[in-house]
Amino acid sequence: MDPFRVLTGRTVVLPMDDVDTDQIIPARFLKGTTRTGLGKGLFADRRYAADGSPRPEFPLNRPEAAGAAVLVTGRNFGCGSSREHAVWALVDQGFRAAIGPSFADIFRGNALKNGFLPIAVPERVHAQLAASRGAAVTIDLQAQEVTLPDGAHVRFTVDPFARHCLLEGIEELEFLLGQDKAIADYESRTNQGRR
């Protein structure tokens, strides 16, 4: 995995609360067996009309959205289904971070395992970002700081372990695999051996 250290990118603003993972990627796009190519399903029912033509009013279809890397989201983004495809679709489309007031638990966990950083910020910071769509922000994960379009700095908190993994570009799985002895000890201690 590529390390995530400093990201400077333009924002796309999705001014909606409780965006569920069925909206991020509808279930009919979940029939594949790989992690790739899911960007075409990203927000499919929002982005495209029934005939497949893009809806010009949807934020991802506006000209300033091209090449954007940061999604500005409403409260409780990513609620609902556990589908990691939602994160894979965002990453496939070039997004590396989301900034919003809050995120659903499973989505946040999935995101952090795919080099995608969800950043929770206070409502006033969110309002400021939502009002300046297309502006660039800089996210410094080492410093745990976002530089807003007006130059102000905002600190954010992040799971310290996920931060370490992202900064070093290592997978959380590496840590778990390193626990092999502790797991074997647990299995024998609790009589959880193979049946």
Binding site: M16, A27, G109, E187
Partner: protein, 470 residues
């Protein structure tokens, strides 16, 4: 003398599964007793194992079935299901190959134990009190009904659990939801959980494990408790739990994978010790009175948008998300749903696809007929549910009423298997999500209980099922 600190049900289950405790910098390593897998969220996890040359650490703690992308088209007796969709067929084939290669037991299409993953695991007695259970599906919270700590995970974590039988997790917070008194006649577990989500909101339990408590919860059957715990995730909860009691033990006794003999007695003693201790505290508490709960239905595009069946949809009053939901649902602010025409009734899913749900629906269908222009689908949650329902003659009640009696699967809850709500149509559904497009692009979902869905099927309108109950 040391006095043990009072602990919650959640804390006891968590403590019993810590392989390595959390530190300031690293989450806890948590042992997983049971890993359920299905065709949709596992292929990329097996790909990870192959890329890394890893084995499945505990195939004996892993169980697979097929449910999400499989067709539920009715079959002639003895006929085999044919998957028309080549992508779905490839996904199902991949699960067969993966299970064979890694030695994982599989209940495939056509097997007498196949069904929705959250229906078959309790049926088999694989789900038991005090366990940690995960699955690449958010409705894994269902298994919390047994006093297990059960939660949905993404595909990366499916791979981690396959490889190590463990997960990394920070200790969540706890939320007690106490329901005092008893539910009134015609008010079901589904109404209870829709009322809870309406009260605390779709993000109300984020970061928390819920414990459902109180007289109304204790009075629920295991199937009803599963309905409640199933929808914990719809309030954002990491998991939902109910302490094991006589109801739990009665349900499990004699199940295929339940312990037997002396092992059973030891297990029962351990299960009985799991209940939250007197004096244990929760991070948050919510109290509801069962007497205040009416049959519920949702009007909007998330499960928190629930109102009593005779209630009115809200006015936006400047709230853009309410305005947007009303527009999607094509509902007028302040209107009553009661009497509104519906196109589809869907009875099934991991929320309400068990035998007691089908019995409730059949009690409304009996002696009545599906209204003109309405499509009614009844989809048993598993082959066992189907078999038991047929043994009771419920299938005949549904068919004689003009409803479709289908094969087990997730069906129209998720619309990735051929069962789909058409754009602009209204469905009263016993499933768990009314998200935009969830049941099919442009489809409009009203979540409700099996009684309410069956009442809508036979009247063609949103109906208070209590009016039809004899």
């Amino acid at each position: 003398m040391t006095v043990a600190r009072p602990r919650t049900l959640f804390q006891k289950v968590w403590d019993g599964h810590v392989v390595s405790p959390a530190t300031a910098d690293t989450p806890a390593v948590l042992f997983i007793d049971l890993h359920l897998i299905h065709e949709v969220t596992s292929p990329q996890a097996f790909a990870l194992l192959r890329e890394r040359g890893l084995r499945v650490r505990r195939p004996d703690r892993t169980v697979a079935t097929m449910d999400h992308s499989t067709p539920t088209t009715p079959l002639a007796a003895g006929a085999r299901a044919v998957i028309q969709d080549p992508q779905a067929a490839a996904q199902v084939r991949a699960l067969e190959v993966n299970c064979a290669e890694f030695g994982i037991p599989l209940y495939p299409l056509g097997h007498e134990r196949q069904g929705i993953v959250h229906v078959i695991s309790p049926e088999l007695g694989l789900t038991r009190p005090g366990m940690t259970i995960v699955c690449g599906d958010s409705h894994t919270s269902t298994h919390g009904a047994f006093g297990a700590l059960a939660f949905g995970i993404g595909t990366s974590e499916v791979g981690y659990v396959l490889a190590t039988q463990c997960l990394l997790a920070w200790p969540p917070k706890t939320l007690a939801i106490t329901v005092r008194g008893r539910l009134a006649r015609g008010v079901t577990a589904k109404d209870l959980v829709l009322a809870v989500i309406g009260r605390i909101g779709v993000g109300g339990a984020t970061g928390h494990v819920i414990e459902y408590r109180g007289e109304a919860v204790r009075a629920l059957s295991m199937e009803e408790r599963m309905t409640v715990c199933n929808m914990s995730i719809e309030a954002g909860g990491r998991a939902g739990m109910v302490a094991p009691d006589d109801t739990t033990i009665e349900y499990l006794k004699g199940r295929p994978f339940a312990p037997q003999g002396a092992e059973w007695d030891a297990a029962v003693a351990q299960w009985r010790s799991l209940a939250t201790d007197e004096g244990a505290t929760f991070d948050q508490e919510v109290v509801l009175d069962a007497a205040d709960i009416e049959p519920m239905i949702t009007w909007g595009t998330n499960p928190g948008a629930s109102i009593p069946i005779r209630g009115k949809v809200p006015e936006p009053a400047g709230d853009a998300s309410i305005a947007r939901a009303l527009a999607y649902m094509d509902l007028a602010p302040g209107e009553q749903l009661l009497g509104r025409r519906v196109d589809v009734a869907f009875i099934g899913s991991c929320t309400n696809g068990r035998l007691s749900d089908l019995r409730a629906a059949a009690s409304v269908f009996a002696g009545r007929h599906v209204a003109d222009g309405v499509r009614a689908l009844v989809v048993p949650g598993s082959q066992q549910v189907k078999k038991q329902a047929e043994a009771e003659g419920l299938d005949r009640v549904f068919r004689e009423a003009g409803a479709e009696w289908r094969e087990p699967g997730c069906s129209m809850c998720i619309a990735m298997n051929g069962d789909r709500l058409e754009p602009g149509r209204y469905a009263v559904s016993t499933s768990n999500r009314n998200f935009e497009g969830r049941q099919g692009p442009g489809g409009r979902t009203l979540l409700a209980s099996p009684l309410t869905a069956a009442a809508a099927a036979v009247t063609g309108r949103v109906t208070d099922a209590r009016e039809l109950m004899r």
